[in-house]
């Protein structure tokens, strides 16, 4: 067992964990972040994407002990001041989800892309989301949501 400290969505906790516990598992069971999903458990589907020190990372192929002292954001931390993140809103507007199992992973993987993107082509958007698999909705709505969120952000930026 090892002592570690994680800050998750702004809340810092000291924990004692077995080294073999995956970050996704600790986020779900020690922090109650059930929006962190296991799809494949080997890096192939993107379902478990969270931000570690601001950068997207697959939490199924990271051990919690590796992230000792780091700051983690999950889908639960995305709404600000009671408002959904612009990409979450765009997912709703464009019907970019059905069952929603894959959605937190898409949002976490693509939020940084939306926040810095200017005028990506469809190919660039599809490259950016290539690590995430959706098993039920298909990808057109997701591409549209990403495009909408970037457009929305640019409109706000230029105001």
């Amino acid at each position: 067992m090892m002592q570690i400290t994680l800050t998750v969505n702004g809340v810092t906790k000291a924990l004692t964990v077995e080294p073999r516990r995956l970050l996704a598992d600790v986020l779900r069971h020690e922090f109650g972040c059930y929006g962190v999903r296991f799809g494949c458990s080997h890096g192939a589907c993107g379902c478990c994407t969270v931000h570690v020190d601001g950068q997207p990372r697959l939490s199924c192929i990271a051990f919690a002990v590796q992230c000792d002292g780091m700051s983690i954001a999950t889908i639960e931390g995305m709404p600000k001041d009671g408002a959904l993140h612009p990409l979450q809103q765009a997912f709703i507007a464009e019907h970019a989800l059905q069952c929603g199992y894959c959605t937190p992973g898409f949002i976490m993987a693509l939020a940084p892309f939306v926040e810095r993107g200017t005028d990506p082509t469809d190919t660039e958007i599809r490259d950016a989301m290539s690590g995430n698999i959706c098993r039920c909705t298909g990808y057109d709505g997701i591409v549209a949501a990403i495009r909408r969120a970037i457009g929305e952000r640019k409109r706000v930026d230029s105001d």
Binding site: R20, L22, S41, H42, G43, C60
Partner: protein, 289 residues
């Protein structure tokens, strides 16, 4: 889908990591980006009893010298795409790295880990062999160089000793006018390649003065198409010369077949990708100042 139990130690330096490797022997594994190893542990294809985390060591640096590029072992794949010096001096690094996995994985996967993991169609091992590279293999009290061509022994197998850690990778860049290109075909964006080809062409006016070709998907390790390379020197690299070199490079390969592609299809891909990569590299060499 949970790994078996292990002891976790965070290394504070290369020396510390090497001392830990010496102490724990074959039961220990280094953990760099974890993008291959943790997946293998989840599937219980790997069950190390000690994990030595080198992920926080300050080894993620890129240095460009005259005729050489040096990557610290923890250089992330993404840095190869974004590094301004590399984009100017040797854009083939970024072009190659774009084929590795997906953006999130490229944030964390490392050059050293990729080479040590030695997947048969991994891109960075391909670049190492293409650019006549070598690695620094550190062990307690010493560092030896291993040439890229001697490093890869077979699928997921290298000539690194269990007590050795890669600390840096070195690549040789041509001095004169040159161009490079890397092309691959995979079933989906980010998947491991069915076949891939890297080419470097040096030229003086219209004439090829040097050529290097690496093939991935021919054998279980990256191989150079030496005869095809030699046949190009002194030539003008026309469409038909490139097509002949591609055909010759591929015909010399045994190639393997598996559920994803037959040996014949892989040979066809290698021939076509070689033709295209040579033409692009030659054109880029012509455009280079």
């Amino acid at each position: 889908m949970k790994p078996s139990a292990f002891k976790y130690v965070r290394a504070g330096s290369v020396e510390h990591a090497c001392a830990l490797l010496a102490e724990h022997g074959e039961d220990a594994r280094l953990l760099a980006g974890g993008q291959s190893l943790v997946a293998m542990m989840n599937l219980r294809l790997a069950r190390p009893s000690v994990l030595i985390d080198i992920g926080r060591l300050a080894l993620a640096d890129i240095a460009i010298g005259t005729g050489s590029v040096r990557l610290g072992a923890l250089t992330r794949h993404r840095m190869l795409i974004e590094h301004l010096g590399l984009r100017r001096m040797a854009p083939v690094f970024g072009e190659t790295a774009r084929y590795i996995a997906h953006p999130t994985i490229r944030n964390h996967g490392t050059a050293g880990g990729s080479v040590a993991h030695a997947d048969p169609t991994a891109e960075i091992p391909g670049l190492l062999v293409l650019l006549d590279g070598h690695v620094d293999a550190a062990s307690q009290g010493s560092v030896r160089q291993i040439q890229g061509r001697e490093l890869f022994r077979g699928a997921f197998s290298t000539s690194l000793k269990p007590q050795e850690m890669i600390s840096a990778l070195h690549f040789r860049i041509p001095a004169g006018r040159w161009g490079g290109n890397f092309l691959e075909l995979a079933e989906r964006v980010g998947d491991f390649a069915l076949a891939a080809v890297g080419a470097v062409v040096e030229r003086d006016g219209e004439q090829v003065t040097g050529a290097r070709i690496v093939l991935l998907g021919a054998e279980s390790v990256p191989v150079r198409a030496s005869a095809a390379e030699a046949s190009l020197v002194g030539e003008r690299l026309t469409e038909s010369v490139a097509a002949q070199a591609g055909a010759a490079a591929a015909a010399a390969q045994r190639c393997y077949g598996d559920v994803r592609a037959s040996a014949g299809y892989r040979r066809h891909l290698l021939s076509e990708l070689t033709r295209r990569a040579l033409l692009t590299a030659y054109a880029r060499a012509g455009a280079a100042a």
